[in-house]
């Protein structure tokens, strides 16, 4: 299996604060990796390095073999990104927002195809052509997922993707990510939602103060066990 995401010994500090400390991880085709940690653990910094928005002090971050720092544009081209808060253009409809973000990437989908993406992400049909100023956070999140999906990327980076989603939509998101992985995508999902991580990912890494403390296969732990391990690491 090919490594789609490869992070080797990256370090990143902001003044005296170590945000990421010698972190290494690899994500292969078909794998969903959950980066579990509390607020300020270094999850978002790691994602921002992979997205090419931050340069690590040392170490390398590769997306499908492309250096995300030195060749950010090419690396980004292969990434579908879903932020914690998807901010859309409020005066545009869901379909128009999706269409616009696709066009930025030089992708032109038919209106039917755009609606199909929104359907796939669980956005109720009646909202497709309504302005997103009327959308709830969860609905905006679904459009954000559709934007990433429509890019048909090989790598997906998700920052608290289930934030604001109702349980049903979260479950649908998990199913969707699993489907993407089964088609060969590599997915990195940063979250502090133990249940969602356990439900969605194949592998889990616990991060604290920028250090990757433990990695495990999801199949090896139940949700309760994972919660206990997590609490133990957070308290020590």
């Amino acid at each position: 299996m090919k490594n789609l995401i490869s992070v080797q010994n990256i370090k990143k500090s902001f003044k005296n604060l170590k945000a990421v400390d010698n972190l290494s991880l690899e994500i292969k085709e078909g794998e969903i990796y959950g980066l579990l940690g509390s607020n300020g653990a270094g999850k978002s910094t790691t994602l921002n390095i992979l997205l090419g928005f931050l340069t690590p002090d040392s170490g390398t971050a590769l997306i499908n073999g492309v250096d995300s720092t030195g060749n950010a544009d090419e690396a980004r081209n292969q990434i579908g990104y879903i932020p914690e808060n998807v901010s859309l253009y409020p005066y545009l409809t869901g379909v128009e927002n999706l269409d616009y973000f696709c066009k930025l990437n030089d992708i032109s989908h038919s209106p039917e195809k755009l609606e199909e993406f929104l359907d796939k992400c669980g956005l109720n049909k009646e909202f497709h052509n309504m302005r997103t100023e009327t959308y709830s956070k969860g609905m905006r999140q679904k459009v954000g997922i559709a934007i990433a999906l429509a890019k048909e990327a090989s790598v997906y980076l998700l920052d608290e993707p289930a934030s604001g989603l109702d349980p049903l939509a979260s479950n649908e998101l998990s199913a969707l990510l699993r489907k993407l992985a089964s088609n060969g995508a590599g997915i990195l999902m940063a979250s502090h939602d133990i249940f969602r991580i356990r439900e969605t990912c194949n592998r889990i890494g616990i991060i604290k103060n920028g250090e990757l403390l433990k990695e495990m296969d999801t199949s090896d732990v139940s949700t309760n066990e994972l919660e206990n391990i997590y609490i133990e690491y957070m308290q020590n």
Partner: protein, 467 residues
């Protein structure tokens, strides 16, 4: 790029506040342009009536000595270019009636500001006021948050991830707002063309106006968007661009204007008149028969006609003396007024140089120039009126000298047929192609500013942090 522009416009036109503001601007510009043109036409009509009345009076003068008619004189009314309705320039404070008579060059009088307190205090409401002050402010309000809003909502990460570079985003967003400025500009120019009388010269001037304002709006929107991208938040971007706008429109023009007057000092009116009078007194006194220079001229003419007494001359020597006096006076005037003219030209050039620091100064100068209401156009009118005065007085003096009367015959008269034969004063605003050199510096500075900001965006775009 085009997708970003379309998206920006979609968002704008679905915003009710934007629609109401646009309706307000279009109505204001239409109303101000229409009122300006109406006022212009009324003023033009009054001037035309006055000019006709003056001409009629001239043509119906009772039989009189030509020199007496020279003292009676005539009037030149400064016609207003139709684009005066768009930008009044200095027309409100300079006069618009010039009395033309023998021996003396009068000052132009009856400025509108001298007759209306509101004009002297606030100026007139012209579309230039809206185009130069209000619309740029609105463009600033539309663009100052364009990138910082994307940063604050973190949407910029999504945009960059989808392939939009910061450079492309800044350019596309500033162009979107710029297009709006152009739209309002085109509305004004179109209303001006429809309601006002137009010809190819007016169209040429309007094209230059469109170019100058277009460049200025481009500078404002690009700078505002650039600050929005580089500064930390919306508040910093807004306060910075407003500070720059205030500096450009309020402080720098005044500071630079005062400095210009200190560097190239115009003599005060009293000194100018005293110097003129002193030098004029050194010439022939046309009304003093014992003047020394008059004697020299007399001897010259006696020798020319080979006679030994003025009474034997076949011409009227008084007319010759009057014309010689006039020509000497003209030389004195040319010297002193010419010197003032040069100083004013230098002042204008130095003021135009402020465009290096302040594109608003270049815009103002270009706007007045292309509307035909600046100092250059005013001086052109004064020069043409003075040229006509010289032709008129020479015609009268020549008639006095060679019309058939003898020296000392002050009771000799000419009738209205002669007065009718003297052409009246007509003036046409000069063609802009002949005066374009005066405004090239303004256009050049506006262009350089636009280019500079483009380069700033290009160079700094890679350094802009999206987080």
């Amino acid at each position: 790029m085009i997708d970003i522009i379309i998206n920006e416009w979609k968002s704008l036109i679905r915003n009710q506040l934007f629609i109401y503001s646009t309706v307000f601007f279009v109505l204001s510009l239409s109303l101000v342009s229409w009122m300006g043109i109406l006022q212009q036409e009324n003023q033009q009509q009054s001037q035309s009536d006055a000019q006709k009345h003056v001409r009629k009076q001239w043509e119906n003068l009772e039989a009189m000595n030509p020199h007496r008619a020279a003292h009676y004189g005539s009037f030149a009314f400064k016609p207003l270019n139709i684009l005066n309705a768009m930008d009044g320039g200095i027309n409100d404070i300079t006069g618009n009636v010039l009395q033309l008579e023998g021996h003396v060059q009068n000052e132009i009088i009856y400025s509108e500001a001298s007759q209306a307190l509101s004009i002297s205090k606030f100026g007139k409401l012209k579309s230039s006021l809206i185009l130069q002050y209000v619309i740029p402010l609105f463009l600033i309000f539309l663009s100052y948050g364009s990138i910082s809003k994307e940063k604050e909502t973190q949407r910029i990460k999504l945009l960059v991830m989808q392939g939009a570079s910061i450079d492309k985003l800044v350019n596309a967003k500033s162009i979107s707002v710029w297009i709006y400025g152009l739209f309002l500009l085109i509305v004004t120019v179109t209303i001006q063309s429809i309601l006002g009388s137009t010809n190819s010269e007016i169209f040429k001037r309007l094209a230059y106006i469109l170019l100058s304002y277009g460049l200025y709006y481009f500078i404002i929107t690009s700078l505002s968007t650039f600050l929005s991208a580089t500064l930390k938040d919306k508040t910093s971007a807004l306060s910075s661009i407003l500070a720059i706008w205030i500096l450009w429109t309020i402080f720098l023009p005044k500071i630079w204007g005062n400095a210009v007057e200190k560097v190239h000092v115009l003599p005060d009116r009293k000194t100018f008149k005293e110097d003129m009078r002193a030098e004029r007194n050194q010439g022939i006194d046309g009304h003093n028969p014992y003047d020394k220079r008059r004697e020299e001229l007399k001897n010259k003419y006696l020798a020319k006609y080979q006679v030994d007494s003025l009474s034997l001359l076949p011409i009227n020597f008084d007319g010759i003396v009057m014309q010689a006096d006039e020509e000497y006076g003209n030389l004195v005037w040319d010297k002193h007024f010419g010197s003032n003219y040069l100083i004013m030209q230098k002042q204008k050039s130095l003021y135009q140089l402020s465009g290096l620091l302040n594109p608003f100064a270049s815009l103002q100068s270009a706007s007045m120039g292309f509307c035909g209401t600046d100092m250059i156009h005013h001086l052109d009118f004064l020069k043409k009126a003075e040229d006509y005065r010289r032709v008129l007085i020479k015609a009268l003096n020549d008639k006095h000298a060679y019309g058939g009367s003898k020296t000392g015959d002050w009771k000799w008269t000419v009738d209205s047929e002669f007065f009718k034969s003297v052409q009246g004063f007509t003036y046409e605003t000069p063609r802009i192609s002949n005066h374009l050199n005066h405004y090239l510096m303004d256009l050049l500075f506006l262009f350089c500013w636009a280019l500079l900001i483009k380069v700033l965006i290009r160079v700094n775009a890679v350094k802009i942090n999206v987080l």
